[in-house]
Amino acid sequence: MTRESTAAPVVKFVAIGASAGGVEAVGQLLQAMPADSSVAIGMVLHVPPDRPSQLAELFGQRCALLVKEAEDKEMIAPGTVYIAPPNYHLLVEPDGSFSLSVEDAVLYSRPSIDLLFESAAYAFGENLLGIVLTGASSDGAQGLSRVRQHGGQAWVQDPATARARTMPQAAIDLARPQRVLALAQLVSDLKDVMTRIER
């Protein structure tokens, strides 16, 4: 732990993107999180745009960290899991707050994983960890390669263990992530990252 934190830059923000099969995968992931952390998580999960999203409540029941829908101009607080509201893009501003946008869908998606990743890469640079999980589109690949360009870390769920393999495969091909992990291993590694507490 100590050795790794001197070798790799400290992770302050984790950006996660998931699509088809994502509710289940994200559920597993959040269930394993510690009760306190100095790291925040921002998440885009593709869901039908016309239905009111209960994702924050759903995940909140199973996660020790606070889970909430991200609000416009809200400052990102450590130990909090933020979920993009349906039908809005979620972006990170340079001052570490969120912005929402109703600009056109990107790759048929709003919220767009690419836009979250790209803006978070600008804001957090090498202190960002981007994770692409299961999904049936190619959203997230471009964004994850931006994460890499800005010096951040990139992890992708092993397509062989994903409900839908298209999205993780696209991310692997384009972004060449540092780690490609089976879901169980990814959950365990993320738990290690999230266990960092600074006072």
């Binding site: 416009d72 946008s101 109703v102 600009e103 803006s119």
Partner: protein, 273 residues
Amino acid sequence: MQAHALFDIELKLLLEGVFQQYQHDFRNYSVASMRRRIQHAMERFECETVSQLQSKVLHDPAVFAQMLQFFTVQVSEMFRDPSYFKALRERVIPVLRTYASIKIWVAGCSSGEEVWSLAILLREEGLLERTLIYATDINPVALQLAEGGIYDIERIATFSRNYLAAGGTASLADYYTSSTHDAIFDRSLRQHVVFADHSLATDSVFSEVHLVSCRNVLIYFNRDLQDRATKLFHDALVRKGFLGLGAKESLRFTAMADHFEELVPADKIYQRL
């Protein structure tokens, strides 16, 4: 110097130059989505760098005029978020009805979908004849479209669905005539609307109003500019006047939070204290 850090420096310079040359102030817009729109503009005007784009924009007013489409976001629908219009009908209209004459400000009206929606709602409530709607935007092209009230016929299905969900008492078809490609809205609705150029970033209050509707505009502003805009709304509104924001907008992170109370929290309708 990393390329992306340089991009942000050039972006700041572009916005400063635009302000000094054209008096349009985008310096306090949210950065993350502005970056993206400027990248689109660079593709459109075939520029390798923001500095090249800056040169074109500052030296050619025609390019600047086209750039307004990139500096701002124009995405709207008639009766977008139908529950908002339903809440206006049920909670705000009964109060507006008690005024002899009613003034409404649609701030950042873009291509006017919401203005026409409000005019229809007011006509159905029998209030349009004694209402004046100020519809303002910084973009002259958008204002022209708003004033025209002509929308692609392919958008009508969505508009009609929204209209009914918003509690419309007739049929949306009663308010427009169709041509092959367009739905042309009833000119008589427009008689009660004043379209005007107004900037939430640089202009001041121009009238006292009973309702301000400003939806999905504030999300493109940073906190400072949100403070400025919501202060304008506060100063324009009569006591107990109403403010309607976009579904995911709120006063919570603005300096005006304590000067309003939530009337319909789910639909982001506030009442001035």
